[in-house]
């Protein structure tokens, strides 16, 4: 989905959103205040650039506004996150996104005479992380970032994704194996890294 398309939808939704009654307004407002940052961060960690995350987060809440009546009280974060996963997937599948963010091999970043201290650059570290995460399926990636970066527990992730704890643990294990494999590849390009 293009940025333009997202914005068109946003404006359409803005028109639709006008008649929303006060209770719905209040609920939506509360969802926005409570979860916007989390959703935005999640979108970033699901592979979207900052610009795209802005638009995608808006899209997530637009979907929520349209389906507000069907969102069970107490499951707002879960609904939003699962929506975010779908939106991120849509954006990442878009041709324009693939053109912008085609990174075939994370190790390639360390080639060409890069030194370990160049990793000190946070942006570079962030880009490397993204590229490693990009090698994971979205299901694995979601569990991995929720556990390793958001520091949610397995039980919390299971509740958020509406899947069994064992499935979360299994996905986390597989994601970790992938992460470690890619790290090993990075290190193989950097003999003096541990």
């Amino acid at each position: 989905m293009t940025t333009l398309a997202l914005r068109d939808e946003a404006q359409e939704a803005a028109k639709e959103a006008q008649p929303v009654g006060a209770p719905k307004d209040a609920r939506l407002r509360a969802m926005l205040d409570a979860h916007f940052d989390f959703i935005w961060r999640s979108l970033r960690r699901l592979g979207l650039s900052e610009d795209r995350a802005d638009d995608a987060a808006q899209q997530v809440f637009i979907v929520a506004s349209r389906r507000l009546d069907s969102i069970v009280a107490g499951s707002e974060q879960s609904f939003l996150f699962r929506t975010a996963t779908r939106v991120a997937s849509d954006v990442r599948r878009s041709a324009s996104y693939r053109r912008e963010f085609a990174h075939p091999d994370p190790a390639a970043d360390l080639e060409g005479g890069s030194r370990p201290d160049e990793l000190l650059d946070r942006r570079r570290a962030r880009a490397l992380l993204d590229r490693i995460l990009d090698t994971m399926d979205l299901d694995l990636r979601a569990v991995f970032v929720l556990f390793e970066i958001e520091e949610m527990t397995i039980a919390e992730i299971a509740a958020l994704l509406a899947i069994p704890n064992g499935t979360v643990a299994s996905r986390l294990q597989r994601a970790r194996e992938r992460f470690h494999a890619k790290l090993a590849k990075l290190r193989s390009h950097q003999g003096d890294l541990p």
Binding site: A13, A14, R44, F61, P116, D121, R122, R124, T153
Partner: protein
């Protein structure tokens, strides 16, 4: 199912890479745009007296410094996290030295745009790259890392300044965090005074770019759009391709 130990709590390259994602946070304006798209009023928590000032002076419309959750959560923590990340990698590279410092602290000043939602990208999330820092940041010595990623998560909240032991970079961080905190509580005068102290103490400071960005924010929060735009243009002229260039350009070009 027992939760395993998190990788980010280890002291290695993987932890450093994971920690790099922790500075992610949206700009206040992104949430406000979404609120506008949904037909919701901007969060009342974000409205400050600066709006009135700006309105009265006709500068920048309603210029606000958000009482930004993201800003608050990333200000001190982010600065320290980045330094912590540097420490971790410094150790990996074989020495307790820092090749550079960096930050991606969010500057939560938000230009409120009452116009059609999502059509104006008033904010750009910026991060500060190694290349954006002065040469004297290179090889600045800092205390050796102690316990990896956990260290810089806790350090931000347990900073007990010891001027004798504190590194120059830590002092810079402390001053800029104080300025950020002042902005978060909408005390623009205190923020500007703290930034003045920073500039007197560290005229060639490692974090002077961040200090300048905070000053732009403070000026906007004070409703002083003319000065903010002037400073933004000056900063752009100095470093047109710098990490804050997009945001500065947005401010510089604002009416």
């Amino acid at each position: 199912v027992t939760d395993p130990k998190r990788l980010i709590d280890e002291n290695n390259l993987g932890a450093t890479l994971l920690a790099s994602a922790r500075s992610d946070a949206p700009w206040r304006s992104a949430r406000d745009r979404t609120a506008a798209a949904l037909g919701l009023a901007a969060s009342t928590a974000a409205v400050t007296s600066a709006s009135a000032t700006a309105g009265a002076t006709g500068v920048d419309g309603a210029v606000r410094v958000g009482a930004d959750v993201a800003g608050k959560s990333t200000s001190t923590a982010t600065w320290i996290k980045i330094v912590g990340g540097v420490l971790v990698v410094g150790a990996l590279a074989g020495g307790a030295y820092v090749a550079t410092g960096g930050s991606s602290a969010k500057h939560s000043a938000a230009t409120s745009v009452p116009a059609p939602p999502t059509t104006v990208r008033a904010q750009e999330t910026e991060s500060v790259a190694t290349s954006g820092l002065p040469a004297d940041a290179i090889a600045r010595r800092l205390p050796a890392p102690q316990s990896g990623a956990e260290q810089y998560r806790s350090k931000a909240h347990h900073a007990s300044p010891d001027p004798a032991a504190e590194s120059a970079l830590a002092r810079e961080l402390r001053l800029l965090d104080a300025a950020r905190s002042a902005l978060d509580r909408h005390d623009v005068a205190d923020a500007l005074a703290t930034l003045d102290r920073y500039e007197r103490a560290f005229p060639s400071g490692t974090l002077r770019t961040e200090a300048s960005m905070l000053r732009v924010e403070a000026l906007l929060a004070r409703g002083d759009g003319v000065e903010a735009r002037k400073l933004a243009r000056d900063l752009l002229a100095q470093d047109p391709l710098g990490p804050h260039a997009r945001r500065l350009r947005t401010i510089a070009d604002s009416p």
